[in-house]
Amino acid sequence: PEFALPQVLGSALSLQSTLPCESEQHYEYSGRCCKKCEPGKYMSAKCTETSDSVCQPCGPNEYMDVWNEEDKCLLHKICDQGKALKEVNPGNSTFQRQCACTTGYHWNEDCDCCQRNTICAPGFGIGHPVQQDKDTRCMPCPRGYFSEVASSTDECKSWTNNMLMVLSFLHLTGTNKILYVLI
């Protein structure tokens, strides 16, 4: 039986003669489907009717992390000590360098700078997990724990540790009253 092509409103179906060229690793140029340059390289010359693309390796302090037709590699960022940044991954020709703020600071996208970590008020301690380059999360001390200092690094301390401290303090001072120890 005759198959009737479904009538598609407003557009005409055309049989696709060749496979689509544009893809992650290919590009169309001068009527040909040519290969892009692999990560770690840039394209110093596009393909022609008779020759393939010419790719060159990225130079020092440069990278390219995708297949590309770029005429230059990208420049690694600077982990600027003067902005309290340190290098956490030097990167290479296919992977961008990674920086993070020094201890006590976290990267703030809005000011493009390392901001001081929040200081938790007494009665609060830092929440876990403590993440590098992330601001402190202050959590109210749960029952059985306390914090008497303002700090961006201290956790809440449990009573039990401190009851022993109080006892030893009283012992030293010769007080004969024995406190009822809560375990």
Binding site: K72, L75, I78, D80, G82, A84, C114
Partner: protein, 144 residues
């Protein structure tokens, strides 16, 4: 490598072919752009200064953060400042980070052999990322 101190210094270590930097129809040598064709050029520079408290205490001290673009003419062995910009700053002690950028630009007549260079004050405070601190020139038209 960034020179130290607060004195006015010549900046020589520029990328001229990496990242966003480009060079054509001019020569770059020892931090100077050298003119190869007489003409009217538009010259510009953008300089960013930054300071983080972890680098030491700079506050409560008057700073003058400046950029100077200089033309050196070897024929008459003369250098003259073409353009300058900047600001005195008195950074308060409360913030952990301080930042200031200055931009200068102008349309000037240049001759073959003229050399264009940049001087700044307080080079240690420079933000040397490519989008922050850069300079350049492009030819707009021939001389009359």
């Amino acid at each position: 490598n960034i020179p130290t101190g607060t004195r006015k210094v010549n900046l020589t270590s520029w990328h001229h072919d990496k990242g966003q930097a480009n060079l054509s129809n001019m020569t770059f040598s020892d931090g100077k752009l050298i003119v190869n064709q007489d003409g009217f050029y538009y010259l510009y520079a953008n300089i960013c200064f930054r300071h983080h408290e972890t680098s030491g205490n700079l506050t409560k001290r008057g700073l003058q953060l400046m950029v100077y673009m200089t033309k050196t003419n070897l024929k008459i062995r003369r250098s003259e400042v073409l353009m300058k910009g900047g600001s005195t700053k008195y950074w308060s002690g409360n913030s952990e980070f301080h930042f200031y950028s200055v931009n200068i630009g102008g349309f000037l007549k240049l001759k073959t052999g003229d050399m264009i260079s940049i001087q700044v004050s307080n080079p240690l405070l420079l933000d040397s990322s490519q989008e922050a601190t850069y300079f350049g020139a492009f030819k707009v038209r021939d001389l009359d």
